[in-house]
């Protein structure tokens, strides 16, 4: 059994020598003499302290017990052995001290508004004597007053020239000892005074080198730790910059002086070189550079009022912002630069088009979700099999893309026919970051346009007349009475009304005037109006083409081009209008397109980029067309012509992207089999249909020399020429299709399956060729047939020779998913091994938050405790003071009362005595 606490204490006291055998008086005396007594006392105190610590077990906090010491390697080896010894008592004391320092004053100041803080210099500095304090205060007061008097006073009331005092050369004269030098006197006194230097420079230099240190030194002694105010800092900065500027000026002037001096010596030098001394010429009168400085600025420097100066400055600044001249001007570009800019613009546009053609996602648009990206990249799609391909509902948009900067300015600079349209492309409205120059250009042109509207329209009309040759006279007679103002048609019937009132050839002029009148810049609501109008215009194009009175194509063309230029401003409206037409077409007449539909489809081919992988308008249009090609069973010759027209459009759509269109090939078969029926053709790629005999080509009577070109209006069934007698039309159909063969032989020759595409066509051509003699083909057909055969055979041979087996799967091998658990080398159960990085970080953060929260709570609790304790103490003090006071008062009163009572007693007794007497 261990000994008791008391015994242990005694033992330890004895051990450390605190208690021991008593020393004799002599020994004591000796020790005090040696000073060992004092040392001994210190030692004793130390020993006592250590003993106290040892015997107060709660003074030291034991290290945190490691739960899994035996498992954790580093737990046993490193951390635990060291141990973190906490001293709760000490920390508590520290905390208490801290609170007393921070919280207590706050507490005491609570509910106290205002008050005076003594910020007088040195007031709270106990090291200074009152005299020192007073002196310091006086010095500071002086300094402040001086500084305020002349903010930019470089000269200190003294005129200088080149930094030299004008008065005299007495640079070293210490008599003009100024008052404001006082502040530096103690500092500069320590340095050797450089008297050669000009007065002011010296001051400044001193200021520069010493100001910071000095002031801090001064302040530091006076007010430890007072940071410089912003005002002071700014002042210093200003002073410094001024100094530097002045020095630069000075250096330059010095150089100038030197150069002047050298220059002066140059004639002498020349004469010396000539070896003939010349008469010294009188030096020219030196004109002193009197004012290189701006007078205003000079005035400002020379002590103008600060507020006034600021005001002036503000005014000027405001003036400048409104000044046109202050804007940065656009440099006029040279021809080469213009061309280069044009070229780069076209290049970027082309790159953009190529990107869209590939169907790549927008490069900047990284936020497109994974699904979308997968689709665009053609990644293996997600579980919803067909949905991923956009066949069913919920088709993801293939590429979200930022709007391309729309500038058709450049086009229109060349294009005077549509000049009105430059103006309504309001760049500032469409996107917020137009190229500045373009913006400028548009504004310029705008102004120009407003002024020269008439002349330009005239040229436009001229152009139009040139196009519509046959109606020239009619146009001339009517165009003069085209009114200049129209209402902006908001419905199609309104536009029809307007168009009825003018000749059809004037319609483009009308459209142009409407666009000019309702130009978006002229009024706010014009933009929406024109947007509706542009959709109406699309309707009108198809309406015009559907009219039996076959309007001239020049008008349609002009309208389409107008629509195109409007589309740059109103893409949504026009896109919607076209889509509306397509949907109308597919619902009401999928296999019987009207001329209007054909013109609309043609318009789509020019207005929209048909090479895009996906396009809101082009893709449905393409489907509409292929639907006709794939499903129409030709019954009349006009059906065949319509099919041919649409097939041509399909080629036109795919002219850049060169995509494969199965229906196009099928259409060649359909048409040619309709024209020249085969006896038996097994394995033809189109389904067998009963095709009326009237479509078959009949034997030609003699070689008709005139070749009829296919006309657009042949797509409309006409009763004038019955199908079975219209051999010229059939001939031209045949020729057109032979031309198609040549075209696709070019277009798809690089396709991997070109051989498979062209082989049936070759068979078909052979079939056509076999009918050459029975049907007595004309020379034109024969020629075209030969051409087609040659083109097809050539590209077939080429494709065949170039063909390689497919190698589509050069993919990086996919790793097999492993399911073996990872082995941790040094496993620590306390640490988290979360494979999910995000989750582990989150849990870490959560733990930290919890810890912090606990700590903050603890602190708050301690604060509250402290405050309660303080409050209680104060209250006790107050109570005690009150009690003391009361006691004093009571005792005083009692004393007085006692005195009075005694007086009374005495009086009474004396009276009694007197009575007795």
């Amino acid at each position: 059994m261990a000994p008791s606490q008391l015994k242990k204490l005694k033992a330890s006291l004895r051990e450390s020598g605190v208690v021991g055998p008593q020393k004799s008086k002599k020994q004591k005396k000796q020790a005090s003499k040696n000073g060992t007594l004092r040392e001994g006392r210190i030692q004793r105190n130390e020993a006592l302290n250590s003993i106290r610590e040892k015997f107060a077990p709660f003074e030291v906090k034991a290290p945190v017990r490691n739960k899994f010491d035996f498992v954790s390697r580093n737990g046993v080896a490193g951390k635990a052995s060291k141990g973190v010894v906490g001293r709760p008592g000490v920390t508590k004391g520290l905390g208490e001290e801290n609170r007393r320092r921070n919280l207590l004053p706050e507490m005491q100041r609570r509910n106290k508004v205002g008050g005076i803080r003594d910020r007088r210099f040195g007031e709270s500095d106990p090291t200074m004597t009152p005299e020192e304090r007073n002196l310091e205060r006086f010095v500071r007061e002086k300094q402040r007053g001086d500084r305020k008097a002349s903010m930019f006073n470089l000269e200190d009331d003294e005129l200088t020239h080149f930094g030299q005092p004008l008065a005299s050369d007495e640079a070293g004269n210490l008599e003009d000892f100024k008052e404001d030098d006082i502040e530096l006197s103690d500092v500069s006194a320590s340095e050797p005074e450089d008297d050669e230097r000009p007065h002011k420079r010296q001051r400044l230099e001193d200021d520069e080198s010493g100001s910071d240190d000095d002031r801090t030194k001064v302040d530091g002694t006076a007010q430890p730790g007072r940071p410089k105010t912003k005002n002071e800092v700014m002042k210093e900065v200003v002073a410094k910059s001024k100094l530097h500027k002045y020095e630069r000026q000075q250096a330059k002037e010095d150089d100038d002086d030197l150069r002047a001096e050298l220059d002066k010596g140059l004639p002498d030098l020349f004469t010396l070189m000539r070896g003939k001394p010349k008469l010294p010429v009188a030096p020219p009168p030196e004109n002193l550079p009197n004012g290189t400085m701006n007078p205003d600025r000079l005035a400002l420097l020379n002590g103008k009022d600060r507020a006034q100066a600021d005001k002036e400055y503000d005014e000027r600044l405001r003036e400048y912002t409104f000044d046109q001249r202050s804007r940065p001007t656009v440099r006029t570009l040279t021809e080469e630069e213009k061309l280069e800019r044009e070229a780069t613009k076209l290049k970027t546009l082309e790159e953009e088009r190529q990107r869209r053609m590939r169907g790549d996602p927008e490069s900047e648009d990284q936020e497109s979700d994974a699904d979308e990206e997968a689709l665009a990249n053609g990644d293996p799609p997600d579980p919803r099999d067909s949905d991923a391909f956009g066949l069913g509902s919920g088709i993801p948009e293939e590429h979200e893309r930022k709007e391309l900067d729309v500038e058709d300015e450049d086009d229109f600079v060349l294009d005077d026919e549509l000049i009105a349209s430059n103006s309504d492309v309001d760049l500032s409205d469409i996107d917020d970051s137009p190229i500045q120059s373009d913006h400028e250009a548009s504004e310029d042109e705008d102004r120009e346009f407003v002024q020269g509207l008439l002349s330009k329209e005239d040229t436009a009309r001229e152009e139009l007349k040139f196009l519509a040759n046959e109606k020239e006279t009619a146009a001339k007679s009517t165009s003069t009475d085209v009114p200049f103002t129209f209402i902006c048609p908001q419905t199609h019937s309104e536009l029809i009304e307007i168009s009825n009132s003018v000749a059809i050839t004037d319609l483009p002029t009308v459209v142009q005037r409407i666009r000019a009148l309702y130009q978006p810049k002229l009024a706010v609501e014009n933009k929406t109006k024109l947007g509706v109008f542009s959709a109406v215009l699309v309707d009108h194009i198809s309406y015009l083409a559907n009219r039996p009175s076959h309007p001239p194509f020049s008008v349609l063309e002009a309208l389409i081009r107008h629509t195109h230029s409007l589309a740059k401003t109103f893409p949504e409206e026009i896109g919607r209008a076209f889509r509306g037409h397509l949907s109308d077409m597919q619902q009401k007449r999928p296999l019987a397109p009207t001329p209007g539909d054909l013109v609309i489809l043609t318009a789509i081919s020019t207005i929209f980029p048909t090479s895009d992988h996906f396009h809101q308008v082009v893709t449905p249009a393409m489907l509409c067309m292929t639907r006709y090609l794939g499903q129409k069973v030709p019954q009349r010759l006009s059906d065949l012509v319509t099919g041919t027209y649409i097939a041509g459009l399909v080629l036109q759509y795919q002219r850049k992207s060169k995509r494969y269109v199965p229906e196009f090939v099928n259409n060649i078969f359909t048409t040619l089999y309709a024209l020249i029926p085969p006896e038996s053709m097994p394995g033809r790629p189109v389904p067998r249909h009963s095709i009326p005999v009237s479509l078959h080509m009949s034997k030609q009577k003699g070689s008709s020399s005139h070749n009829r070109e296919l006309e657009f209006w042949d797509t409309v069934p006409s009763d004038e020429a019955p199908d079975d007698h219209n051999n010229p039309l059939k001939e031209s159909l045949l020729i057109t299709h032979l031309a198609f063969v040549v075209l696709i032989a070019q277009m798809w020759r690089s396709q991997s399956a070109f051989v498979e595409i062209i082989e049936p066509i070759l068979e078909l051509l052979a079939h056509v060729e076999s009918q050459a003699i029975p049907l007595n083909f004309s020379h034109a057909i024969k020629g075209n047939l030969q051409k087609a055969l040659i083109a097809a055979r050539q590209s077939h041979a080429e494709a065949l020779s170039n063909r390689q087996p497919l190698e589509l799967h050069h993919h990086r091998p996919l790793p097999i998913k492993t399911s073996i658990p990872k082995f941790e080398e040094s496993y620590n159960p306390t640490s988290h091994y979360d494979p999910d990085r995000q989750r582990s970080e989150l849990s870490k953060l959560q733990a930290e938050h919890k810890k912090e929260r606990k700590g903050a709570l603890r602190e708050l609790r301690k604060d509250a405790n402290f405050m309660a304790r303080e409050g209680l103490r104060e209250k006790r003090e107050r109570d005690a003071a009150y009690e003391k006071k009361m006691r004093r008062v009571v005792s005083m009163v009692q004393g007085e009362e006692g005195h009075e009572a005694k007086e009374y007693e005495r009086e009474k007794r004396s009276r009694k005595n007197a009575k007795k007497r």
Partner: protein
């Protein structure tokens, strides 16, 4: 009266209407009077002739209310007579009685004759009345005359009525009425109708009797599943509690025989197709021995074309369930793959089955490769709706037959060997000899450049890593130009459409030669004036 709920009610109603008309009152009352007289005494039997004369005459097509009333009255009279046993001859009937019975029997037959004629005539309301009356008489006959089953159903009133119905043709409303009110309702009627239909089909007495039988059979929708379903009989005969038609198998056999009789006849293409169309859900359920359909199905399948297509599902059922051995089945299947199929409306049906047929991993790779290659070749000239089926199907086939993946990835051992043409022979009919496995799927590669973005994207799955186990073909089957267009056009256009940046100078006219711009293809081919 209560036994003629339908007819009686309508007539009563009509009567009430007519009563207001004083002219007609006479006719009605006289008919009713006659009827009551006949009922009252045998003496007035002769008035039956008068009453019958009031009935529908053969030539008058006019719907006379009176005559209808008379017909109903006669029917009632006969019913009563039958119930009373006045039409049946016993051993103990006297000669006089016999004469009377004979006479009544003759009248009764005359009356039935008249009704049957009315049934065959093209007059809906009269037909319907006649049918009701005949069936009513038939019921009375069956209950009271004690004929044998054979005579009752096969040769009696019922048989005659049914024959008339069959001859009436598929368009007759009365046929529908019969099927609705009697055939569907009563199991014994159904049972015996099947028997009659079978004999009629095999008899082939008239030109379109087969078609009529077929049309009647085609309307049969309800198939009894359990014996409990067979409870309702038209004729309640106490003598035979367990009749033939109560047994499910007998019932089925009757229907099966009827169908087989039809199938044995030379059917034209249209009939064959319609039969094949309802094969799985209307015919097969009746058959207790489905293998009896085998001949028909194989014949249809051999016919090829769309008929063959439709026979395929039935055939598949037999192959799967009944262990049918169809020689050279895959050859036949292969030969069915042609260009027409791609445009056919039965396309999705075919592809659904084709996937099932080819899903077996035990098929030789050469065969599967032939199918793959042929499909891809066909896809080159197919509408987009067909391509979107073909590509996932090919994917699934490649995934389940990895040997065939050489068709999409073949690294040449000797570099730059010139592939002179395709090893694949499109014309070869035997799928094992087409050398398709030595070819490559260039067609699918080309279709990756299809004009429709979604089709192109689907075609690209072939050249990506085959991480997906299989595509669910059903998702791709039902598309068409219209549905695709609908999808495209119903998408909302939140995004502004891209606009071509260059505005062409000429659209419908040739460019000026100095401008240096290329002309539109359309301008080259067409003249716009």
């Amino acid at each position: 009266m209560s036994s003629f709920p339908n007819v009686g009610k309508t007539i009563r109603k009509r009567k009430r209407d007519e009563l207001r008309n004083p002219d007609d009152v006479d006719g009605y009352t006289s008919i009713l009077e006659l009827e009551s007289q006949i009922r009252a005494s045998r003496r007035h039997y002769n008035k039956l002739v008068t009453l019958m004369n009031l009935c529908w005459s053969q030539d008058s097509h006019v719907d006379n209310e009176e005559s209808t009333l008379a017909v109903v009255a006669v029917c009632r009279t006969f019913c009563r007579l039958i119930a009373a046993g006045s039409l049946s001859r016993n051993h103990d009937t006297s000669h006089n009685e016999g004469v009377v019975v004979q006479w009544l029997d003759d009248r009764y037959n005359d009356y039935k004759e008249m009704l049957l004629k009315a049934l065959s005539r093209d007059d809906t309301s009269n037909q319907s009345t006649a049918l009701t009356l005949i069936m009513r008489l038939f019921k009375e006959e069956a209950t009271y005359l004690r004929k044998s089953d054979e005579t009752l159903w096969r040769s009696g009133t019922f048989a005659k009525a049914l024959k008339t119905l069959i001859d009436a043709g598929p368009s007759a409303a009365v046929q529908d009425e019969f099927m609705q009110n009697y055939f569907q309702e009563y199991d014994d009627v159904r049972f015996h109708t099947f028997a009659q239909l079978g004999t009629h089909a095999s008899l082939r007495d008239s030109e379109n009797s087969l078609a009529n039988v077929l049309s009647m059979l085609a309307t049969v929708k309800y198939v009894p599943e359990t014996p409990d379903d067979l409870k309702r009989s038209f004729i309640k005969s106490p003598s035979q509690p367990h009749q033939e038609f109560y047994s499910l198998s007998a019932h089925r056999k009757q229907a099966q025989d009827a169908w087989l009789a039809v199938l044995r006849q030379p059917l034209n293409k249209q009939q064959r197709k319609s039969i094949l169309g309802m094969m799985s859900h209307r015919i097969v359920p009746w058959f207790s021995r489905v293998e009896l359909l085998m001949d028909f199905l194989t014949d249809s399948f051999d016919e090829g074309g769309s008929t063959g297509l439709m026979a395929l599902s039935g055939l598949f059922h037999l192959i799967q369930r009944k262990n049918l051995d169809y020689p050279r089945f895959y050859h036949k299947l292969y030969s069915m793959l042609d260009y027409d199929l791609m445009h056919s409306k039965h396309r999705s049906r075919f592809f659904r089955l084709l996937e099932t047929f080819l899903s077996s991993t035990h098929l030789p790779a050469a065969l599967v490769a032939s199918f793959i290659k042929r499909l891809s070749r066909l896809a080159l000239n197919s509408p987009p709706a067909a391509i979107v089926v073909i590509v996932p199907l090919i994917y699934n086939l490649l995934k389940s037959h990895p040997m065939c993946t050489f068709m999409i990835h073949r690294v040449a051992r000797v570099p730059c060997t010139n592939v002179s043409g395709d090893k694949f022979q499109m014309e070869e009919l035997d799928p094992l000899k087409t050398h398709a496995i030595e070819s490559s799927l260039w067609e699918i590669r080309t279709l990756q450049d299809h004009y429709h973005p979604n089709v192109a994207t689907i075609a690209k799955i072939i050249s990506h890593q085959f991480t997906k186990q299989a595509y669910n073909l059903d998702d791709f089957l039902d598309h068409s130009y219209e549905s695709m267009l609908q999808v495209e056009l119903s998408k909302d256009t939140k995004k502004r459409p891209e606009i071509e940046y260059a505005i062409p100078k000429r659209i419908f006219a040739e460019h000026e030669p100095s401008s240096g711009q290329e002309d539109n293809i359309m301008v080259k081919l067409f003249s716009f004036a």
